[in-house]
């Protein structure tokens, strides 16, 4: 049995966090009840991570935790301790394309621009990160698989068609590259 059983427990009201944000080590103080979304937006100024529903449904706060898409709104900041967080700003660098740095555009982002896949743009970071995670697992998804994969990300402007078009175009361009 641990020390918890006998001695009174200390309940720290703040925790020193250190994790990698888009390839750079960051430090932040967080209360245990601070969500990762609050830590990213309020403490670290990473306002590219959007706050939508706060219930894990809309997908606009999607970030990658060690490469896996998660709800930043339903993850505690303390769960980022020692881990790797990628936001849309780190997408190009995360893909590891030569010569890319934070702020550069990933091919998915260029496809979104080319296909005018953003209207108000609020869902776009989450859409891009979800699409990125899909392509990391399944490099050549069908259109139906793309639609299924993006099914958990809501967009209230575009009707989704151009978003799916953009991801599909990116897949096709990649297949062209594979054959070349």
């Amino acid at each position: 049995m641990s020390a918890a059983a006998g001695a009174p427990r200390e309940w720290p009201d703040r925790v020193a966090l250190r994790f990698a944000l888009n390839g750079r080590a960051v430090d932040a103080w967080a209360a245990p009840h601070d969500t990762l979304l609050a830590v990213l937006r309020d403490t670290l100024g990473a306002t590219e991570v959007k706050y939508g529903c706060g219930e894990g449904v809309c997908g606009t706060c999607t970030v990658l935790l060690d490469g896996a898409p998660i709800n930043a709104c339903l993850t505690l900041g303390v769960h980022a301790q020692g881990r790797t967080i990628t936001t849309v700003r780190g997408l190009a660098a995360a893909a590891g394309a030569p010569g890319t740095a934070a702020g550069d555009m990933h091919p998915l982002q260029r496809a979104f621009v080319a296909h005018e896949a953003a209207q108000c743009g609020f869902c776009t970071p989450g859409m891009l990160l979800t699409a990125y995670a899909l392509l990391a697992d399944h490099p050549h998804p069908t259109r139906a698989e793309i639609r299924t994969a993006l099914g958990g990300n809501l967009c209230r402007c575009t009707g989704y068609t151009r978003i799916v078009d953009a991801v599909e175009a990116c897949v096709r361009a990649r297949q062209g590259g594979d054959r070349a």
Partner: protein, 301 residues
């Protein structure tokens, strides 16, 4: 985006977690994936004073399969259930149910143990566990015990877990030869909880007659329910279209759903019949080895 403050502790052992739960009683909640608990807290529907975070306890995230059974640790994420090849081979119905859960973000965090302990009547893990007659392994101050799934779920969001007990694993029978399963669910939007869901598991003998039949329906009561009347109609029969229709009709008669904002009781009853029929059809096709006819892992509409 903001949770009400709580005291937070991340024990490194199960014993420590159990001691904390004992100490804080009803004021404490176990935090696993957080994909159900944290939304409840965001909405003000739950306000625990202490969260006991079990994510750092080693050994709870294993998947173990021997010939007869699969043991899925409580901290196994839904995404691992979806992608682990051993689990898919041993218990394909659970692997096929996993992608129906929430969305990809929820599946990367949400856990099997959390889904069981949360006990939503429309959730997929409890549905499959009920159809398979699974066993929930729990541990508390008095030691470990096994709870058959039909005793585990007590009502809407209620389980047989004691206040200082933690789910440690879900144990499922491995798929046997000539066993087939089917899953079907009705959802309004991708990722929603099902309005009505069905899971059927059938075993056939050499002559093609049903030796085992389990039909579970979710979304029609306080927890997923076995359809004993429909199952009796299947046992000993050749599961042709007429027999499956009769069993599905029996499901319609057996369920007693309530109306709510999502669906009327009549609609739920009608859809319970439809989902049960689809699940049964897929189960027969798979039990007969006709994987082609079984089509995709789960039928969703």
């Amino acid at each position: 985006m903001y949770l009400p403050p709580f005291r937070y502790v991340a024990p490194r052992t199960l014993d420590e977690a159990i001691a904390l739960l004992r100490e804080h009683g009803d004021d404490a909640k176990v935090l696993a994936g957080g994909q159900s608990l944290l939304p409840l807290m965001m909405l003000g529907l739950a306000r625990p004073g202490v969260l006991v975070d079990v994510n750092g306890i080693p050994g709870l995230d294993r998947i173990e399969a021997d010939g007869d059974a699969v043991r899925v640790g409580a901290l196994v994420r839904h995404r691992a259930v979806e992608t682990d090849p051993r689990l898919r081979a041993a218990c394909p119905v659970l692997a096929d149910a996993a992608p129906l859960i929430g969305n990809i973000r929820v599946r990367h965090r949400g856990t099997v143990g959390g889904s069981l302990a949360h006990a939503d009547p429309a959730a997929e893990v409890p549905l499959v566990a009920t159809a398979l007659g699974a066993t929930v392994e729990v541990r508390g101050a008095g030691g470990a015990r096994d709870i058959p799934v039909h005793e585990f779920f007590r009502g809407y969001l209620e389980t047989a877990l004691g206040p200082a007990e933690v789910v440690t694993a879900l144990r499922l029978p491995a798929r046997g030869p000539r066993m087939g399963y089917g899953l079907a669910e009705l959802v309004r939007r991708s990722g929603d909880f099902a309005t009505v869901s069905a899971c059927a598991v059938l075993g056939l003998d050499g002559g093609g007659r049903c030796t085992h039949a389990a039909v579970a329906i979710g979304g029609v009561g306080p927890s997923a329910l076995r359809m004993r009347g429909a199952e009796r109609l299947l046992i000993g029969q050749l599961p042709g279209d007429r027999t499956l229709d009769d069993a599905a009709d029996a499901v319609r008669a057996e369920v007693a759903p309530e109306s709510d904002v999502h669906a009327s009781a009549d609609y739920r009853r009608a859809m319970a019949r439809v989902m049960a029929r689809r699940a049964l059809g897929a189960a027969v096709a798979r039990a007969g080895g006709e994987s082609r006819a079984a089509g995709p892992g789960a039928v969703r509409s």
